[in-house]
Symmetry: C2
Subunit: 382 residues, 2 copies
Amino acid sequence: MKVMILGGDGYLGWPTSMHFAAQGHEVLALDNYLRRKICFDTDSNPLVTRPTMPERSILFEEVSGKKIETEAVDLCDYRKFESIFKDFMPDVMIHYAEQPSAPYSMRGYEEARLTLQNNLDVTFNAIWAVKEHNPNCHIVKLGTMGEYGTPNIDIEEGWIDIEHKGRSDKFLFPRQAGSLYHTTKVLDTDLIWFYVRTYGLKVTDLMQGPVYGVATEETASNDQLESFFNYDDIFGTVVNRFIVQAVHGVPLTVYGKGGQTRGYLDIRDTLQCVYLAAMNEPDAGTLNIFNQFVETFSVNQLAEHVQKVSKSLGLDVEIKSVPNPRKEMEDHHYNPAHSGLLELGLKPHYLTDDVMASMIESVLRYKDQIVTRRIMPRVSWK
Amino acid sequence: MKVMILGGDGYLGWPTSMHFAAQGHEVLALDNYLRRKICFDTDSNPLVTRPTMPERSILFEEVSGKKIETEAVDLCDYRKFESIFKDFMPDVMIHYAEQPSAPYSMRGYEEARLTLQNNLDVTFNAIWAVKEHNPNCHIVKLGTMGEYGTPNIDIEEGWIDIEHKGRSDKFLFPRQAGSLYHTTKVLDTDLIWFYVRTYGLKVTDLMQGPVYGVATEETASNDQLESFFNYDDIFGTVVNRFIVQAVHGVPLTVYGKGGQTRGYLDIRDTLQCVYLAAMNEPDAGTLNIFNQFVETFSVNQLAEHVQKVSKSLGLDVEIKSVPNPRKEMEDHHYNPAHSGLLELGLKPHYLTDDVMASMIESVLRYKDQIVTRRIMPRVSWK
C-alpha cells in the first residue's frame, strides 16, 4: 500500500512512518518542521535532540533495510501539495500535520492565527487533493478527545442519536473544546464531514487522548530513532512533566484541583490504532470516528502513580497544587466510549508500574540536560 | 452609540449602515468590495449598478442630513483592522463581512479557499480586536439558518438540551450545512463560542434565512440608495430568480422536486432584527442566538406565489422543474423555532401579494437590462 504521511517528522508522524514501512508499505513522509521551529522560538526543545527526516530515514534503513521517502514541504501550499499527491498517488493519507500545542495556540494573536490557518489549510488541502485526484484515497485524520471537552453526558464515538419532541436524527456528537488548538480540530471535523457527505470521500477521524512514550518496536535497535520527549509547558504532556519533575527533584505540579480526567494511551497503541484504522477503510461518503485511548486517569491519579513508582526507584517525590493556567473543569463527569478500535483488534498496553518505571529510567539517563525554566507554565488562558 | 459595520457595502451592510445612522448612531462602514469583485469575475452584476460607499454616503447625507463614515479596507489584515478598531472604539460591531454565495463557494478550489479564509479570518480578527482592546464591545454576527441544514428534528434557537443515558447537558444545536459557504458559518459559530466562553465576550449570532427586497425606509426618497438586486446563480436568491424569470417571460425553474423549505424575511425585517439584537446585549460570556426569519415557504409555494401575482399583473408565467445543481433534500421536515426576536419586539412584514407585486413591478422597470445567461445555474455541487 502507498501511504503518505502529513506531519511525518512529528512526535507521532515519524514513529508512524517507520511502523508502516516496517510492515512493508511504501511510505512518503512530509513535514515543514513547524514543530521544531516552534520549539526553538519558545525555548521548548525536547530532552534529546533528534535527527532530521532524511537523517532518520538513513538510520532506519540501516537497521531495517526499509526505505522511507521524505520531503520538507509546507502543505499549506496547495499547488505543491497537489503536485506531490499526483506524483505519489497514495492509497492512504495519514494526516498529523497540525500545530498540536494547546498552550501555544493560547499565547497571543500570531500564535493563534498560525494555529488556525495552518491546521485548517492543511486539512482543506488534503480534502481537495483527494477529491480532485483520487477520491478513493482513504484519509486517516488525527483528531483529539479534546474536541468533546468534558460534557455532563457520556461521550459516544463521534456520533449521537438525538430524540427531540417525538422525532429523531443522528448527528456528530457535540464538540466543545478547551483551547484554540482543540477548537481547530472541531473545525476540521465539521469541514471534513461536509466534504465527505457531499462528495463521497472516505475518512477515518481518530479522537485521540494524550499519548505517552517515545519507544516503539521500530526503535529497539537504535534509540536515535525514538520520538521527541518534550517536558516543557508548550509540547510536554502532564505525564512527561511529572516524570521530569520527579527526576529533577522538584514537586509534581498539579494544576488546580487535579480532578481533570482524560483517556490516555501508549505510543505503541497509537501505532496499532492508526494501522488498524488505515486497514479498515470506510465506504464512500462515510466518516468513521473512533475514540483512541485505552484507560482514563485524573491528574491526581497520575501524580500519585509517578510518586509511587519514583519512590520504588529511590526518588523522593512531593506533589503540590499550583494555580491552573488553563480554563477547564477540575472536577467533572467523564465516561467516554472506546470500543471501536478494540473491536478492530487493538491489544492495549496499559500504564503499568513497569512501563512507568522504564519511562522514569530513560529520563534519568538525561537528568543533567533538564532545563528547569521549561517545566512551569509560561502561558495562561486568562 | 458607536456602530462599526463590517461588510458595510454589502446587500445588507449598506441598508444597515443607513438604518443605524438614521436612528442617530455614529456609523463606520468598512468593506473591501469583495462582493462587487466577485460579481465582475463571475459575470453576475446586479440588475442596477449601485454607487460606491463614499458616493452612497454623500447621497444619504443629502436626503437625511446624517453622516456615514466609510473606509475601503480588507479586514483579513489584522494590523489594519486593529488600528481602525482602536481609533473608532465601537460599542457594537456588526459583522457581515463574509463571502456569502453558496454556489461561488462550490465552484472550484480557489473560490472555496477564498471563502474559507476570508470568512474565518474576518471573524477571527473581529474576535481578537474586541478581546484585546474592548471586551465590552458587543459583536452582532450574521450567521445563517443554513448552518442547521434540514435535520429530521425541530430546530431550536441555537441551543439544545440533550438527555442521554440518564444525564443531561446543554449544547449548540447540531449544525450540518449544505454548502462550503454555509459550513464556514458553522465554523464561525464554533470559533466564536470558544472565545466567548473562554474570555467572557458578548456576542449575538443571528441565524438568518434568505432575505428579499431592496427598499427600506431610508431609501424612500432616492432609489439609488436601494440595495443590490442580484438575479444570477451566484448571488441571486430563489425569490429574485423567479421574479426575473416571470418578467423576462421564461419559465420559473424549480430545482428538483421543489419541496426545499426555508424561513424567509423582508429586508426591512433584517434591519429591525439587527437593531433589536444590537440594543439587547448579552451578559459577558454569553452567546445569544436567534433564528432570524418570519415565515417558511417551499420552493414550489414560492413559484406558485410568483406565478399568481404575475398573472394579476398581466404576465403569463410557467413553472418547470430542472435538475437540481445542489446536493440537498428536496422533501424534508422543517420546523424551526423563531420566537426570540418576536419577544424582543420584531413586527414582521410578510410576503403578501402586494409586496410581491411591488417587487415584480420594480424589476419590470429594468426589464431590458436582464441578462438571460445569468439566470440558469452555472455551478453544480456534483
